[in-house]
Amino acid sequence: MRGQGMFSLTLGRFFRHRLALGSAGVVLALALAAIAAPVVEAALGTGAETVDLFNRFAAPSAAHPLGTDDLGRDVLVRLLYGGRVSLFVGITAALAAAVIGTIIGLASGYYGGRLDAILMRFTDAIIALPLLPLLIVLAALDLGKLGLPEAFVTSENVSLYRIVVIVAVVGWTTVARLVRSAALTLRERPFVLAAHAQGAGALRVMTVHILPNLASPIVVATTLSAGNVILLESVLSFLGLGIQPPIPSWGNLLTNAQELIWSAPALAFYPGILIFITVIALNFLGDGLQDALDPKSLER
């Protein structure tokens, strides 16, 4: 082990974690497939919104590899476009939550004292709340009453932005707590004291000296929360409060499928299994990263 850099050690440990490695591949493959949705669409000569009422509930064929739905739309293309939306929401909201959580956790851990007490009580309170019922209220709000411009409120993509904001607003707590506890120990370390002695201001110490050392907890927490966000988006969309049709997402594809569960059970199977695979892969990936980045697990 001697003479090996931290980075290659981490990489080595990560590669030994075969499950995490496979999961990274799965996530990448899903993302590529989602990005390639227009290509598949063009290759099949059909669109996500192309209705063909003479070809409803078609069995899988060369023209429709996974068959068609209740309006004769191609299931595969709709799944790919749904994946675009679900993955986009998952990644954006998880990143936004990570930014909020890092700022709050950093301020809390670095300054300590009263600010820390207030911020952490606030975090605890949010963790203790029944989140889903409150998210449902947030998702049902009339944005017009919040004073947002009419053109924005009625635009097609508003449900997309709304869900990202809602999830980010409640999803930052895990990152905040991890960052806070790490920052709390880091601020007493000699290199931080040295930076202070050289006259570095609070902002500089936080961003230049402490933040880089927080990379691993932030990466791990963000990976794990991306999975949670995708689950949350699918739940809200499924309940009719998240991504609104005609934009397809894995969650709202299932809403439609629930009504058809007796006649076309396959439609209820595909979006669910894709959510499941994505989330479990992200969880394995986060777990593997945690093992790889944690210096404590060095000797095993």
């Binding site: 203790a128 029944p130 989140l131 889903l132 209220v137 009339d142 689950l231 699918s234 739940v235 629930q258």
Partner: protein, 321 residues
């Protein structure tokens, strides 16, 4: 102890008070208001009438004033009527609360009964085949979309096998215990699967950490059996963090209950909240949400007390910071 107790109680009361205002304000931002509902029910109402009605009910006043009025009435025991159920809010809340407690209680106990032993079994030989298998299942439970799992259970047990009802609560003519129990099986199963993975993972992580400690090495050196070491020397220590996380998860469990109840049409708090938000039943939604908040806060309060009871080393000061 009493000081700490009192401090936590006050803190929870403050959070509950703040939440009551936040939820009240959010309700005001929902689409439509009671007068809009009257207009849609009665086309003869003119716009002048609407203005007068809004004045009459005080809907034109500032939010803080309306909240103060509501709070005064609520503290005096008047929580208002439910629009959808045409009954006093509390009369609707009672049975729903009972049903949810049955659902939550049963799945919580089941989940712990499965998750804790599974976590311990996995922790005894980390990175062994057993550990991998348990981990795989636990991650599966955590990652499965809860509503999809519920749909699958309905598909298998109600549609294909036809042995359990797909939803609802009790049939009209025969309302015995076993009849009711049949309706609870699938919701409890789906909620248990959703939470057992987390419980297993917490227990495993905590037990692995504990088994690394010095006193365990001493116990091993004394030649004690591995079973005795785990049960007598490690378990209590390992349970300390688990108790906290598990009780903090109460809010998560409640969220799960909302999904489960909605899909299985199980008449509990979660479905009540969802239906009242969707049906513009503002009074009902407000009170039910507050009650749910109260429940989860009480859960995390309980966690704190359990924490200090299990671990005599913790001084109350330490917990506070």
């Amino acid at each position: 102890m009493t000081r700490y107790l009192a401090g936590r109680l006050v803190q929870s009361a403050v959070v509950l008070g703040l939440m009551s205002f936040v939820i009240y304000a959010l309700m005001g931002l929902m689409p439509g208001d009671p007068v809009d509902l009257m207009i849609s029910a009665d086309p003869k109402i003119t716009s002048d009438d609407a203005v007068r009605l809004r004045q009459l009910y005080g809907l034109d006043r500032p939010i803080v004033e309306r909240y103060a009025n509501w709070l005064g009435a609520a503290l005096g025991g008047d929580l208002g009527y439910s629009r959808l159920h045409t009954k006093p809010v509390l009369a609707v809340l009672g049975p729903a609360l009972g049903n949810t407690l049955v659902l939550l209680g049963a799945s919580f106990v089941l989940s712990l009964a499965i998750g804790l032993p599974a976590g311990i079994a996995a922790a005894r030989r980390p990175y062994s085949k057993t550990d991998y298998a348990i981990n795989l299942l636990a991650f599966g439970g955590i990652s499965v979309p809860p509503f999809w799992l519920a749909l699958l259970l309905i598909m298998v047990f109600a549609v294909i096998l036809g042995i359990l009802p797909a939803g609802g609560m009790g049939t009209v003519d025969q309302a015995g215990f076993w009849d009711t129990a049949r309706f609870v099986v699938l919701p409890v199963a789906s909620l248990t699967i959703a939470s057992v993975g987390g419980h297993t993972r917490y227990m495993r992580a905590s037990m692995i950490e504990t088994l690394r400690q010095d006193h365990i090495r001493t116990a091993r050196a004394k030649g004690l059996s591995e079973g005795r070491i785990v049960v007598v020397h490690a378990l209590r220590n390992a349970l300390i963090p688990v108790v906290t996380i598990v009780a903090l998860d109460f809010g998560y469990l409640f969220s799960g209950a909302l999904i489960t109840e909605t899909i299985f049409a199980y008449p509990g708090m979660g479905k009540l909240i969802f239906d009242s938000i969707m049906g513009n039943d503002f009074n009902m939604a407000l009170v039910a949400l507050l009650f749910a908040t109260f429940l989860t806060l009480a859960g995390s309060l309980l966690a704190d007390f359990a924490y200090v009871t299990i671990d005599p080393r913790i001084s109350f000061r330490e917990v506070e910071t």
